[in-house]
Amino acid sequence: MMKTMIRTGALAIAGAGFAVAALAADLTGAGATFPYPIYSKWADAYKKETGVGLNYQSIGSGAGIKQIQSKTVVFGATDAPLKADQLDKDGLVQWPMVMGAIVPVVNLDGVKPGELTLDGATLADIYLGKVTKWDAPAIAKLNPAVKLPAADIAVVRRSDGSGTTFNFTDYLAKVSPDWQSKVGAGTAVEWPVGVGAKGNEGVAGNVAQTKNAIGYVEYAYAKQNNLTHAALVNAAGKTVQPTMAAFQAAAANADWAKAPGYRVILTNQPGEASWPITAATFILMHKKPADKAAAAEALKFFAWSFEKGGKMAEELDYIPMPASVVTLVKATWDKDIASK
């Protein structure tokens, strides 16, 4: 009995050893949770084609940055891009990989998706606690045709630090001086009002359950949960609906070439068709990687994803990078990353 147990144990350990050896050949990455679904979808397809797998830990942007700084992974992923001086200090290269959009979602009786319109200043005032009723003049003025209840607005926001919050608060800070001075932008901020829910799914669930609630989620979550999204007034003063075309317009209008480290935050972009809260998610790699072969493999994976991953991204409601940006990024790889 004992002997069998020992033998099985030894086998199990040997098996685990093999498993570790097999994983070691995989690419390792860590960071943002927001792009995790698309990275894993790309990785699955890529593995089928090439046999090279990806071990991506979606542990959050902050932790991803730490992991790449300490060189425990081949690449890091972050929603909030690093500043150029930070990149230089750590010897990192940064580029945008894929984009997403953030939409305000509401739960109002009789209001269908896209019927309610909000502008940035009003959205900021709601999240500041200055606009507390749905029939407040600020909202009524934007929605003459919508029947608004005389109810309190139940504000829902993220409780965990997140790239979604970073981009959402960045937008509010850009459109509302009051928000800029009182709260500011960050992955976790000091929310004046509202309840905090964990993750996009937490906010989506909360808004779905609470009458007269408002929240903000990644577009995919709004779509998959059939939430009522609101239209937004963009920087050009036009009311836009959250559509793939509007997200792409925002990305196309951004000036990627001039931003060091591609540090472009896609909120409140100019252009009549631009959705105002669009966001890119970024990859970080070392300029002088310790393991050159692994770095080269990772770049192959990213090049493949840029080329063949666009459709998969759209299926999951992400927005592929425009071709012009991909060309720029590839030039950066050749110039800055010593992978050969």
Partner: protein, 329 residues
Amino acid sequence: MAMIAEAQAVEQAPDRAGALGVFRRSDASFYWLTRLAALTVLALLGGIIVSLVIGAWPALTTFGLDFLTTQRWAPQLDTPVMGALGPIYGTLVTSFVAMLIAVPVGVGIAIFLTELCPIPLRKPFALAIELLAGIPSIIYGMWGFFVLGPFLVETVQPAMIAAFGGLPIVGAIFAGPASQLSLFNAALILAIMILPFITAISRDVFATVPPVLKEAAYGVGCTTWEVVRNVVIPYTRVGVVGGVMLALGRALGETMAVTFIIGNSFKITGSIFSPGTTISAAIASEFAESSGLHQSGLILLGLLLFVLTFAVLAAARLMLRRLELKQGR
């Protein structure tokens, strides 16, 4: 024959000494092994404290004692402001309310199971209660979020607000509006989670009461209530308090379920129907995306929880000792 036996005895003599030596050595090694195990635990505990202090040091030196008295939590600022008052308040309030609900109910269930319940039903009842303890806390969180929360918002909370909200002084505690994510909901979930601990331990210690004591009490005409109050509870007080303290320890540190339903707001409003946060919920929410001073502040929160739990357990020990002294044991 006799000679052979004698020869055997002579041959066995050194064997016996050898055998005794083996016993001694195995005794010694057993002693050291167990001692090593015990020391490992101490080393781990020490290591955890040291690493918590090291991690919390930047926040500790930046904020000092203000950390305990500040309500503001704004880690994103250029000069971050972080205060633990909100999480500490939330931790204490949810645990207190949870104990307020769970202790009478838990002890009540234990009394029912040991004194009143028909014998064939005791096993299934006890099993059901113990199963509650086996449910992962994330399940409690999801259930609280999707089922209990909406139910409370529509029924219990409005009724309580209507009944108590208008009263002086306590009115502020029960002030509206009702909220799906609130300290009250979190406390209720906590109460359900710690109930099995209190019940299981109370039931076990109630079973240790010598039947002769109870029978004597019944014999002089006591009712069941009087037997429980005057015989069972005094006899088992120490054990019951121990179970309650174990449950309190769990309530103070519970993370996942609470994070789901407490609303994660650092503001203190005074009403139990408003969202709040606890120390562990704050850490769980923010740790992944934190860095620098923010992370250090969260580790300092962890250290505070450590101290808080330690203080509660120490207080429990002290209370138990005084109870024992009072009883003259």
